[in-house]
């Protein structure tokens, strides 16, 4: 059977490898058969709560095996899966729940203490799944209640263009933006990734990203598509790198996918000398550029592993890949656009640039979102549309990322369009400043921000964290930067911090970072 709806993925696997473990999280493991049954019971429970095709159902889980049950159970009923971060402020969850007209929310009791507190409930939420508590006005269902129901086994009536899930990102104004993906964009992503990394049923995938981030979709969709196994890294292990190193080895992971920072932490504790990673075939990283020095060290430690840089805004799932041919001596490109996709590089006036010039990457692909949830204003701006000679329209997503294409057709990342600023009249690319700081021995992490200090003045500030053994002083850093950067691009202020604020995937959190600057002033 060809998969065209998300639940087909598991239905297919059940036919071929029912007993194969699909997801593992600590001591919990779900075979494809068990996953199918649990998803069916959840679909039945949702139906009894009154959910119907197209309804949005919230799934408030950190790193949890219930995320897999939620994704497949919700879509099995033809409903829309909306993963939420249980640790995000209640106001944010409330705002998403209300904008999505959510009347049912799935929770992990352990991870949602404050959310479930009596005062200030979630307006409109009538049913909570995953808790035994008694909360006034809300019907609570335990997982045991759900499991006692007769599972739904029929696939929903629907087509692959239907809305399947909504992922939320912060949005520049702080209002969450809901990115809508269809079954088609999800399945396109699942099959392209399975093909590109040659995923097989004996693959074991290290799923580090929590379910509310798009990077988790490779583990939740592509791996089951290939009938492999995803190891959901428990929250505990994500926080304790010494334990993570051991789990990574013990689970015999064959393909690992995370932000560079997680790998850098493993490198720093000597994980690759201490434990055996002989089963590892692929190391995929995403989210931000990999600092070159640390990437080189990592590749030297793991000569048998293939490294690949993954790039794609949440709006597109993934759009480029670059398998590193050898240990790099310069910045790693984003690489090539993958299958079922095409792209252009355009200037500020939307004209395609000529070869080698820089511009914004716009992308048209099968994996691109339907649009933003209830935001026609954003949808208008997000796409670049072209009309062909015969009247067809071709819609490209504007990535907001500046790139250039080299002679080998490789795309190079030059930074976010909104991170290229004028400092005292000079154009400064913050990413470039960060790379220059990271190249200084003894610097562990670096992040630059340039808050507005007045009408037309910005203050260039760098936050750095240093290695213990070799710590250059702020003055030394400034002097070294003066030899590699133009004077106006040398940060006026360098602050040494213990570590940079990072989001739950381990990516630098610039919003938090900027807030922390204003807090202390």
């Amino acid at each position: 059977m060809r998969s065209y709806l998300i639940p087909h993925i598991v239905a297919n696997a059940v036919e071929r490898v029912p007993d194969h473990v699909a997801f593992k999280h600590g001591a919990d493991a779900l075979s494809y058969e068990a996953l199918w049954t649990e998803a069916g019971c959840l679909a039945r429970a949702l139906h009894e709560m009154g959910a119907r095709k197209g309804d949005r159902i919230g799934a408030c889980f950190g790193r949890s095996i219930k995320s897999a049950v939620a994704l497949y159970g919700i879509t099995l009923l033809g409903c829309v899966y909306v993963p939420l971060d249980p640790k995000s402020p209640k106001s944010r969850i409330r705002s998403i729940a209300s904008s999505c007209d959510m009347s049912i929310l799935l929770v992990d009791e352990m991870q949602t203490r404050s959310l479930l507190s009596e005062e200030g409930g979630l307006d409109g939420v009538k049913h909570l799944v995953g808790t035994n508590r008694v909360i006034g006005g809300v019907k609570c269902w335990s997982w045991a209640d759900v499991a006692s129901l007769k599972p739904i086994a029929d696939l929903p009536k629907g087509v692959d263009g239907d809305l399947a899930y909504i992922l939320h990102t912060s949005g520049t104004t702080g209002v969450p933006k809901g990115i809508m993906h269809s079954h088609y964009s999800a399945l396109s992503f699942a099959s392209l990734a399975a093909e590109l990394y040659d995923l097989q049923s004996d693959d074991v995938f290290g799923l580090h990203s929590p379910a509310f981030f798009d990077a988790s979709m490779m583990g939740y969709l592509s791996v089951p598509y290939a009938m492999g196994r995803s190891i959901i890294i428990p929250e505990l292990y994500a926080q304790m790198v010494g334990s993570l190193a051991k789990l990574f080895s013990d689970e015999k992971i064959t393909i690992w996918y995370s932000v560079p920072y997680v790998l850098i932490q493993l490198l720093e504790i000597g994980a690759f000398e201490k434990y055996d990673y002989e089963h590892l075939n692929w190391l995929l990283y995403m989210g931000e550029p990999f600092p070159l020095g640390q990437l080189r060290q990592l590749m030297e430690r793991l000569p048998h592993v293939r490294f690949s840089n993954v790039y794609g805004p949440t709006e597109t799932n993934q759009c480029t890949y670059y398998h590193l041919p050898d240990i790099p001596s310069e910045d790693v490109p984003l690489g090539y656009v993958w299958g079922n996709s095409s792209y252009k590089v355009v200037d500020r006036d939307d004209h395609e640039v000529s070869g080698g010039e820089e511009g914004e990457l716009v992308i048209r692909s099968a994996t691109t979102m339907l649009g933003y949830w209830k935001r026609p204003d954003l949808n208008e701006k997000a796409f670049y549309t072209e009309t062909t000679d015969t009247g067809q329209t071709e819609k490209y997503y504007r990535t907001g990322d500046r790139v250039r294409v080299d002679q080998e057709d490789r795309i190079h990342y030059l930074g976010r369009a909104d991170r290229q600023l004028k400092i005292r009249g000079n154009r400064v690319e913050l990413l470039e400043v960060e790379s220059a700081i990271l190249a200084i021995p003894g610097v562990r992490e670096a992040a630059c921000v340039a808050p507005k200090m007045g009408e037309d003045r910005r203050l260039l500030i760098a936050l750095v964290s240093l290695e213990l053994e070799l710590s250059p002083s702020v003055e030394e850093i400034k002097q070294l930067l003066a030899t590699t950067l133009p004077g106006y691009a040398v940060p006026e202020e360098i602050r040494v911090v213990k570590q940079l604020p990072r989001n739950p995937t381990g990516k630098v959190d610039y919003r938090k970072l900027t807030l922390s600057l204003t807090e202390t002033e």
């Binding site: 991870q111 304790m240 504790i269 739950p504």
Partner: protein, 90 residues
């Protein structure tokens, strides 16, 4: 800086107070030494890092990143015995 070996209650209390005031920022929270603080969402990853820095300074010990294992940080009790073993071997 510790001038003298403090009693067990004190070491626990120092850590609990730090978690409540600076990390979780919730003075009212009910936190026992046995309570699992890693899985219950009391500490996120940044909170863990903050707490590790605090412990290093407060008790004058150097925590090797390889010692960042669940067994040493699962709750305040575990942290206390970990800190003690570090102090004893120093």
């Amino acid at each position: 800086m510790l001038q003298r070996m403090r009693g067990e209650e004190t070491m626990r209390e120092i850590i609990i107070t730090e978690i409540k005031t600076s990390i979780a920022r919730d003075q009212e929270m009910d936190l026992t030494p046995e309570e699992d603080i890693l899985t219950t969402g009391v500490l996120d990853s940044l909170g863990v890092m903050k707490l590790v820095s605090f412990i290093q300074e407060q008790f004058s010990i150097a925590i090797d990143p390889g010692e960042m294992v669940i067994e040493n940080f699962i709750n305040v009790l575990a942290m206390e015995s970990f800190i003690k073993s570090k102090l004893a071997s120093a």
